[in-house]
């Protein structure tokens, strides 16, 4: 593989950049693999990369129905954070933060990781107390957290509405300074390029139409490009999890819902951080191109549409304007939607299944992008060793039967309620 470096950039400039290697190949599926990963999104690509890098398993295929990075890894709002209260989520995400910090060097691909800090705004005394508690829990797990009062928040984001007579006055906020954003497509492409260079076959435009299971053991998959034998199969298909689960006669604690995001026209730099509204569900950051990147609630009903509906967008942006009134002056550039695998406690599942050799990675709800490296790393471990790592031990499938839920938001089973 050609290394991306200043020297290679200069060298290739002499041939008008026409002789760069392809970043990844377009192989035809082989008859058999040690591991088949279904889903060429961020998590699937990361899993294949860590299987090769950490476990030396390179006879691996990624099977993608569309094109890699065309799903949620290309549709999110690029926020990276580990500001969780519960140990399972906090430790898992903070492990991921370390991988994010090293990612550009590790992948030899600039993922433009920008640790600009995230601020969750508080709008009441009670919310300040709750944030103090969450911040303390975070710090006990080694995650940076700073409780800001109203004046401190005003210094960082003076463009927010600090007038006295608003419905949701800003009391303060909880900040995780090491949180941030990254270039989401680069994450998918960086993992793909490295995985490919270590021998992983990235097979696009290949739909899984069935599974070959006998005597409780997986033997392979059936695809639109023929049958593929596999010793182990990992499912990494986010919003399409239930569709594949049905083919396996499994019913999962997952519902598929639609989440929208949007960007404004580009403007000059105004917002340095990621900011979330505390009296509803709205978050905003400014991209390197100057667009305000915004998102919030789910559309609120089961959906596989990958496109949104205006009432929810209007509701979300109303919250945005309440928080930062200047947003009302901006023109909307683009809106889009992605389908989320909403789990019944709001936390993910990375586990083995009752079928030998079949592994499950799903339930990422709103937080799939930031989990990409940690999810890939732990899923690769779970597949390679046939046992969960302590980092994803809490993300078990049977926690719903045993009662060990990780209900970070306290929403119960209706995680789609807004």
């Amino acid at each position: 593989m050609q290394k991306y470096s200043i020297f290679n950039l200069v060298k290739n400039a002499f041939s008008n950049h026409e002789n760069w290697d392809l970043a990844w190949k377009d192989p035809t599926p082989k008859e058999e693999y040690d591991v088949v990963i279904i889903g060429g999104g961020g998590h699937g690509l990361a899993t294949a990369y860590y299987l090769a890098k950490e476990h030396n398993i390179t006879k691996v295929a990624i099977i993608e129905k569309g094109w890699i990075g065309g799903g949620n890894v290309g549709r999110n709002t690029t926020i990276i954070r580990s500001n969780y209260m519960h140990d399972e989520n906090g430790l898992f995400s903070e492990f991921g933060m370390d991988l994010w910090r090293k990612m550009s060097q590790d992948l030899n691909y600039n993922v433009m990781f920008s640790p600009r800090g995230i601020i969750n705004l508080a709008h009441s005394d009670a919310q300040m107390n709750a944030y103090a508690r969450r911040g303390n829990s975070m710090r006990l797990n080694g995650i940076d957290a700073v409780l800001l009062n109203r004046e401190q928040v005003k210094e960082i984001i003076p463009m927010a509405d600090f007038s006295e007579n608003v419905r949701f006055p800003i009391f303060g906020g909880l900040m995780q300074p090491s949180a941030g954003t990254a270039r989401h497509d680069a994450v998918a492409w960086g993992y793909a390029r490295q995985a490919d260079s270590m021998g992983v076959d990235i097979i696009q435009n290949c739909e899984v139409i069935g599974f070959d299971v006998s005597a409780g053991k997986i033997n392979g998959i059936r695809t639109s490009r023929g049958n593929i034998k596999a010793k182990k199969v990992g499912l990494c298909v986010a919003g399409s999890t239930n569709i594949l689960a049905e083919k396996l006669n499994m019913t999962l604690p997952i519902e598929t819902h639609l989440l929208q995001a949007c960007v404004s026209e580009p403007i000059k730099p105004v917002l340095d951080n990621v900011v979330t509204f505390g009296a509803g569900h709205f978050y905003v950051s400014q991209s390197d191109k100057g667009e305000m990147v915004m998102g919030g609630d789910l559309d609120g009903y089961n959906s596989y549409a990958q496109r949104g509906n205006l009432p929810t967008l209007q509701h979300v942006l109303t919250e945005g304007i309440a928080m930062m009134p200047f947003l009302s002056k901006l023109k909307m550039l683009r809106t889009w939607g992605g389908i989320m695998d909403m789990s019944m406690d709001g936390s993910p599942i990375i586990d083995k299944t009752h079928i030998e050799g079949l592994y499950l990675n799903c339930g990422w709800c709103y937080g799939g992008f930031k989990a990409t490296p940690a999810s890939g790393w732990t899923f690769a471990h779970t597949i390679a060793q046939d046992r969960v790592h302590e980092l994803n031990a809490g993300y078990s499938l049977n926690r719903f039967s045993t009662g060990h839920l990780i209900d970070e938001k306290g929403l119960g089973t209706k995680t789609w309620i807004s």
């Binding site: 604690p253 997952i254 609120g300 089961n302 959906s303 719903f400 039967s401 089973t413």
Partner: protein, 89 residues
């Protein structure tokens, strides 16, 4: 914008409704032996169908009745609506 034909009030916009999830889920009968698996299926496990999906909505800014709606989860086409206690064939 979805338009939902409330069986009590007629055609109204989705803004008047709130969503209540899969309507095919049945609570296990009282006073019978119930396995953990049956409870799991009732409380947590969902088919989350792509295509025709029978679901509960509440006409919260209208008659406040719960209704059942048969909707396509990929195209959002609404086929039929029913009163909450109506059996769906």
């Amino acid at each position: 914008m979805l338009y939902i034909n409330c069986p009590h009030c007629g055609m109204r916009s989705q803004n008047e409704f709130s969503y209540g999830g899969d309507a095919s889920v049945k609570r296990p009968e009282l006073n019978t032996e119930i396995s953990d698996k049956e409870w799991d299926d009732f409380v947590y496990n969902r088919k989350s169908l792509r295509g025709k999906h029978l679901e509960l909505w509440q006409h919260i800014s209208g008659c406040r009745q719960w209704i059942k709606v048969e909707r396509d989860t990929a195209t959002h086409e609404i086929f039929r609506t029913f009163k909450a206690d109506e059996e769906v064939a």
